[in-house]
């Protein structure tokens, strides 16, 4: 019995040590890519942050780790810490992370001027290459920045450059919507109508284009067309441009459409 107990104790001791060694060796000694993927999969959990802390301690030039570690902070409104980490990533590898930082400044902070600075710096680092920060064309994002600071002429230039580079059929249709919005803001209602129609050519179910058309036609006193398009905007509101993280500058809501509709019938 004593021998049996001794064996059990021995097995347990080995198991407990093995368990500890396995976990610690994973945290401190496993390949950095394995740990990066693990931490990325647990984004936001403290364990993820701990693994990134270990990684950046062991590999102080691992820019991707700083970048990925910043993500949950910025998504959750802790921008001081989020941008501290993201700035470090940019410092280590500007051409890889400037685009994302600019994108975050634009979409998460509406910090248009500083987003433009990041996009310009990125452009200068990648000559003869059309950058696409976070999957969106750099000229489209620049256009959004200029739209944000109400410099509609410069915004138009950027959106047009985006169309030239990506061609009419392949460019993001929101480029035409923004062009319509810019022309509308400048008082060029006929031009605005042409731009919105280009958006509808790509997709007839674009509520932002129908809403823009209704507003532009109203300015031109064409009530019939305004009514036609406000109804289409209402009908297609399900297809509106949306993002779970942030509200777009030109985000459209059904309440606005209904309010405009009431205004038309008054």
């Amino acid at each position: 019995m004593k021998k049996f107990l001794k064996v059990i104790k021995l097995i347990l001791t080995v198991l407990f040590f093995l368990y500890t060694i396995l976990i610690l060796s994973f945290l401190f000694l496993s390949p950095k890519e394995t740990r990066f993927n693990f931490a990325g999969n647990f984004q936001g959990n403290y364990i993820s942050q701990t693994v990134f802390n270990v990684l950046t301690f062991q590999y102080p030039n691992y820019s991707d780790a700083f970048f990925e570690q910043s993500v949950p902070f910025n998504k959750r409104g802790e921008f001081a810490r989020g941008f501290e980490l993201l700035n470090k990533a940019v410092e280590l590898d500007p051409s890889l992370h400037l685009g994302y930082r600019g994108y975050m400044k634009l979409r998460f902070l509406r910090d248009y001027k500083n987003a433009l600075l990041d996009f310009s710096r990125l452009d200068s680092l990648t000559p003869n290459f059309e950058d696409a920060p976070w999957g969106e064309d750099i000229n489209f994002l620049r256009g959004e920045c200029y739209f944000g600071i109400k410099d509609y002429s410069k915004a138009i230039t950027c959106f047009k450059r985006n169309i030239e580079n990506n061609t009419e059929d392949w460019v993001d249709l929101n480029t035409f919507v923004y062009l319509g919005l810019c022309e509308y803001e400048l008082g060029n209602y006929e031009k605005a109508i042409l731009e919105y129609q280009r958006a509808l050519k790509q997709s007839v179910n674009t509520p932002e284009a129908h809403f823009g058309l209704a507003k532009a036609y109203l300015e031109l006193n064409n009530f019939e067309k305004a009514k036609e398009h406000i109804l289409k905007a209402e009908l297609n509101i399900e297809y509106k441009r949306k993002d779970p993280y942030k509200e777009f500058q030109n985000e459209l809501y059904l309440s606005e459409i209904l309010q405009f509709k009431r205004k038309l019938t008054e």
Partner: protein
């Protein structure tokens, strides 16, 4: 003092057990806590505000929690109250709070940064005024997956340029 082999084994078992259990508690803690979690603080929080499931408070973007008709409508509703406020610097005031599964809000926390995106401080009285204006809003849509509603964290930013609030999002 000299240990006998039997005592040595007991000692190793104890050490290995203590190490393994400490590691397990630490791992459990690391896996259950998340960036931006807000636990109840009786000094800061309204005790009448209740969450439906303390163990499962999601992020607004996972369950589509929002203000009715979006942040645009929210901005419109509080603009008159907050527009006259002035500040000594530029930057952002960010509120993080919970929308519970019944569409009520509470447990406010505030983070502030300057225009260089570094931590700073804004007048606490004015931050209180902003918080009050949010608390007065009544049309919150609780986060939902299908027909089930959830508690979720929400983030609202006030952008300040040259001492004035210029945007809310």
């Amino acid at each position: 003092m000299k240990f006998k082999p039997k005592n040595k084994l007991n000692l190793w078992l104890l050490i290995s057990f203590l190490l393994a259990s400490t590691l397990t508690f630490w791992l459990n803690d690391q896996l259950s806590k998340r960036v931006g979690d807000i636990s109840f603080n009786e000094e800061l929080d309204d005790s009448f505000f209740k969450v439906c499931d303390e163990t499962r408070i999601l992020q607004y973007y996972s369950v589509n929690a929002n203000y009715q008709n979006g942040r645009k409508a929210l901005k419109k509703e509080i603009w008159e109250t907050i527009e006259p406020l002035t500040f000594k610097a530029s930057g952002y005031i960010t509120f993080r709070f919970i929308i519970n599964c019944d569409g009520e809000i509470g447990r406010f926390r505030v983070k502030t940064i300057d225009s260089e995106l570094k931590k700073n401080k804004f007048d606490s009285g004015k931050i209180k005024t902003l918080q009050k204006s949010i608390e007065n809003l009544k049309h919150w849509n609780a986060g939902a997956l299908g027909i089930k509603t959830f508690d979720s964290y929400f983030v609202l930013n006030f952008k300040i340029e040259i001492g004035k609030i210029t945007d809310i999002f």
